[in-house]
Amino acid sequence: MTKRQLWMRFIAHLDRQLLLGIGLLLVTSLLILYSADNASFDRPLGQLRNIVVALACMWLVANLPLHYLMRTAVPIYALGMVLLIGVALFGEISHGARRWLNLGVMTIQPSELMKIGVPLLMAWYFEKHEATLTLKNYFIAALLMLMPIALIARQPDLGTSLLITASGFYVLFLAGLSWRVIGGLFVAGIASAPVLWSMMHEYQRHRIMMLFDPTQDALGNGYHTIQATIAVGSGGLLGKGYLNGTQAHLDFLPERTTDFIFAVYSEEFGLLGNLILLALYSFVVWRGFIITSHASTYFTRLMAGSITLTFATYAFVNIGMVSGILPVVGVPLPLISYGGTSMLTLLLGFGMLMSIETHKKLVRT
């Protein structure tokens, strides 16, 4: 085998367009992390490590034939459930929430695993019952989705549970859940809002309240929202220039390498930068939809659609939260925010998309 052949083999299962979009976003991540970390290479290098590991995993998954992928659904879900129950029983408390499980060698956050595990199992379930889908199947699928979500919501981790609900719902939606049921759920959701409100933790209510009037608690819970909104607004049309964001560099922005990194970006690159970033995200999502539409099996269609929609949702929720139209729920900006876990989860998803795209001709019927 020549070098070239080897290379061709190596990239055979990588979707070039998707890889281009992801790559540009990852480069943006490194650039903006350098600025957010006050011109230090500390965070960018850390992120580079995360990216390398996650890209490797993505490559592996992309090379995984689809039936292997399907086979992983039940074990991943089962493992996730076991870990979630473990968290509920033995988890470590940090910041008033029980999210982490200490396995001795490492601490893990099983809810992250479920971000993939839930849609994967649901897609698998629908594939199994493809021929004879009735309302009962949707109900069972919803139940499979709600069990881990309930455990995560109890931790409490409202943000993650809502996002997993979203990705699960996308599977139900793409699987053809009737519009009537969707309408019913929507009405029921609104009706149950007061009940949910009463079940929420005080800090969660605060965050939602702050959305309506962040100045109410300008130095407390509203601080994040106010300072982030100021950063975005003061960026203007062209931004203050790379490394020149005052909100970021004078420490006014909290968590600016993680959840609030968009404020740093937006302050320095302005509206123009925002449009470019949204274009990059749109490009990735668009490619995701194309792959979804090419997908040959029920399972892959559902999975690809859910991954794509979930990715779009993550981006929307984070940007909405930073620019002050959504409550602060602790969702990172996909592919940009510093963090290994979310990077891994996202790139595993993209790996699946690539696998779906590149293995479709090889699938057995």
Binding site: I230, G233, T246, L250, D251, F252, N274, Y298, G305, I325
Partner: protein, 633 residues
């Protein structure tokens, strides 16, 4: 068959899925649209607003407090100055257990019980974001000791500051006053007069005395430093600087040495002295005894010391020279004599026969002369020289209260002099109108009789009497008394003079002035009531003694100094100017419970005049010295 069904289902399923996918794309586009709208709103429409917010986040305006202006005496001697030193300050927000912190601190630096009490008071009065001073004027050693242990005390810090200091202490307390921490009332006043911007960062404001009345000059203009700060408030770099302008320097007309001599001359007596240059109204000495040390007031006096000052029977906080109101007694007589001449009520030569008792026409009520048996044949000159009461009883009755009121008003009685200090009282010059308003009573002829010798309703302040004496000395040309001679601008070093022009000229004929002057000189010569005042003086002193009653005598009762308690004894007055022919200094001396003007007040006046005119420094005087001689009023 089965295959067909499945195939059909598959087609429909694909169709449905594509439909759902299109809905999904629509959904994502909707999310995109929401974000775009939000960006346009934040970054285009509201950009200026958020830009301003970001700037105000970033830029802190740090006020630079100007150095307070100095106060110098007429010869350049410093009466109020600034010096730099260290304070130990506690940020009450950052300290949870104040008591424990202070106890820990007291192991490193001396913290007296006074400091603790003062701090407690500051704490009670403060707003909770303030940093409060626990110790002032730390020694270098204490600074070093604390600096080494500072990490143990979050919220406690050492600050270098300028302190105000009054080197002459209680000798100038009623004159200079003091500064103190700005309180809530003053914050409101500053806001109302649009001065609060200039007081950003200022902790102190003039509370009394010249520190108060010349606050606008002394404070200076606050400088502004714009710094870029991070979220923790740490300054990152300086953006711009407008330097502060120090307060203006006050050059007083006061002669500090003269002030000191006047102060010391009182010995243990309480009282007041105001000495004025009659040629221009410059106040040369301004004493109220006892004084108090103004220095502890600057950073808040501790409650115990405050109570001591406030409850002392000597009322050291009362500015007697400015606010003390006493009957003028016989010191009014030269002015009464001028009134008589002015209205041609009596000619200089006209004599009366003093039998020691005066009766109002048609009345049996007795008005006694201070001298039993009277002075015999008395004309105006003799009446002033010997302070004959009977002469002035008759003169007052003949003048009538309206004329007396009109004439004495021209000398400033019953009105504020307008000196450059706040809180002056106006004394009291009674009139028919006043009595009706005050007591709803008509004026009785008997009221006029007492007014004639400066008793009854009449009240004057030592300052007022000094002003009237100065006007008299200057032949009826009055100058507004002022303590500040010039205000020297710190910016240009140009001087602004205070009250250079005369207020008015009373146009008193020279012959009348001459008569009164000669009579007043005679007061201090053998045969007069204040011989002691000019004994051996190489210049002529024109003076007049006076006695202000503390307790009213019943009809026919005889006052005997030995029978009444010290604090009920009469107040002694002496007014004088010298040299009589060319007056350089005019003064009024009040000695509380001093008895007779000639014995207690006149010697004080003499010492002041001797120093001012001859440069003679007297030996310290004690109460016992003054008491020795027993000459009468």
């Amino acid at each position: 068959m089965k295959k067909y069904v499945e195939f059909k289902n598959h087609q429909r399923e694909i169709y449905h899925f594509q439909l759902r996918l299109i809905v999904s794309i629509g959904f994502v586009l909707a999310l995109l649209a929401i974000l775009l709208v939000r960006f346009f709103y934040l970054q285009l429409l509201r950009h200026n607003y958020y830009q301003t917010l970001a700037e105000s986040n970033r830029i802190a305006v740090v006020p630079i407090v100007p150095n307070r202006g100095l106060i110098l005496d007429r010869n350049g001697l410093v009466l109020a100055r600034n010096y730099s030193g260290y304070t130990l300050e506690i940020n009450q927000n950052k300290v949870t257990d104040m008591e424990a912190t202070i106890n820990d601190l007291s192991r490193l630096v001396t913290i007296t019980n006074k400091d603790r009490r003062r701090f407690k008071k500051l704490l009670a009065e403060s707003h909770n974001f303030e940093t409060l001073v626990i110790r002032n004027r730390l020694s270098d050693e204490e600074v070093a000791r604390f600096a080494a242990q500072q990490y143990r005390f979050p919220g406690v810090e050492i600050k270098a500051r300028l302190f105000r200091d009054y080197p002459l202490g209680e000798k100038t307390s009623h004159l200079i006053g003091y500064i103190g921490r700005i309180n809530d009332t003053e914050v409101n006043q500053l806001e109302e007069s649009d001065l609060s911007a200039n007081y950003r960062g200022s902790d102190y404001i003039g509370k009394t005395g010249l520190e108060q009345s010349y606050e606008a000059d002394l404070h200076g203009t606050t400088g502004i430093e714009q710094v870029e700060v991070d979220a923790n408030g740490r300054a990152v770099r300086m953006l711009s600087l407008t330097p502060p302008v120090s307060g203006n320097t006050l050059v007083l007309s006061i002669d500090a040495k003269l002030q000191e001599i006047a102060e010391q001359s009182f010995g243990d007596f309480r009282g007041a002295l105001v000495a004025i240059d009659p040629n221009n109204g410059e106040v040369l000495a301004f004493v109220s005894k006892p004084g108090y040390d103004p220095n502890p007031f600057i950073d808040g006096i501790d409650p115990q010391s405050w109570d001591e000052l406030n409850n002392s029977p000597d009322v050291p906080l009362n500015n007697r020279a400015l606010r003390g109101q006493y009957p003028p007694g016989s010191t009014i007589k030269p002015f009464m004599a001028l009134a008589g001449l002015n209205y041609h009520t009596r000619s200089p030569e006209q004599t009366i026969t003093d039998t020691g008792v005066y009766y109002l026409p048609g009345s049996s009520r007795q008005y006694r002369d201070w001298k039993a048996g009277g002075h015999g044949l008395v004309n105006m000159f003799k009446a002033i020289q010997m302070s004959c009461d009977t002469y002035f009883y008759g003169l007052a009755t003949e003048l009538g209260i309206d004329n007396i009121f009109n004439f004495l008003t021209r000398f400033g009685f019953g009105q504020k002099t307008g000196i450059d200090l706040e809180g002056e009282t106006s004394g009291l010059l009674p009139s028919q109108e006043w009595k009706m308003k005050r007591y709803q009573q008509i004026w009785y002829p008997g009221d006029t009789v007492s007014v004639g010798i400066g008793q009854g309703y009449t009240l004057v302040t030592p300052l007022q009497l000094a002003f009237a004496t100065a006007t008299l000395a200057n032949n009826g040309v009055a100058y507004r008394p002022h303590l500040v001679k010039e205000v020297r601008s710190s910016r240009s070093n140009e001087a602004r003079f205070i009250a250079k022009d005369p207020l008015y000229d009373l146009d008193i004929p020279a012959s009348q002035l001459d008569l009164v002057r000669r009579a007043m000189i005679a007061v201090t010569q053998p045969g007069g009531t204040a011989v002691y005042a000019s004994l051996g003086a190489p210049y002529h002193i024109a003076g007049k003694t006076g006695t202000a009653q503390v307790i009213a005598m019943k009809q026919g009762e005889k006052y005997d100094a030995k029978d009444v308690g010290e604090r009920l004894r009469d107040h002694a007055w002496f007014i004088a100017y010298a040299p009589a022919e060319n007056p350089q200094i005019a003064l009024a001396v009040l000695v509380e419970n001093g008895g007779h003007g000639g014995t207690t007040a006149a010697p004080i006046a003499r010492k002041v005049m001797d120093y001012y005119l001859l440069g003679k420094v007297p030996k310290p005087l004690t109460k016992a010295d003054v008491r020795e001689s027993g000459v009468h009023d």
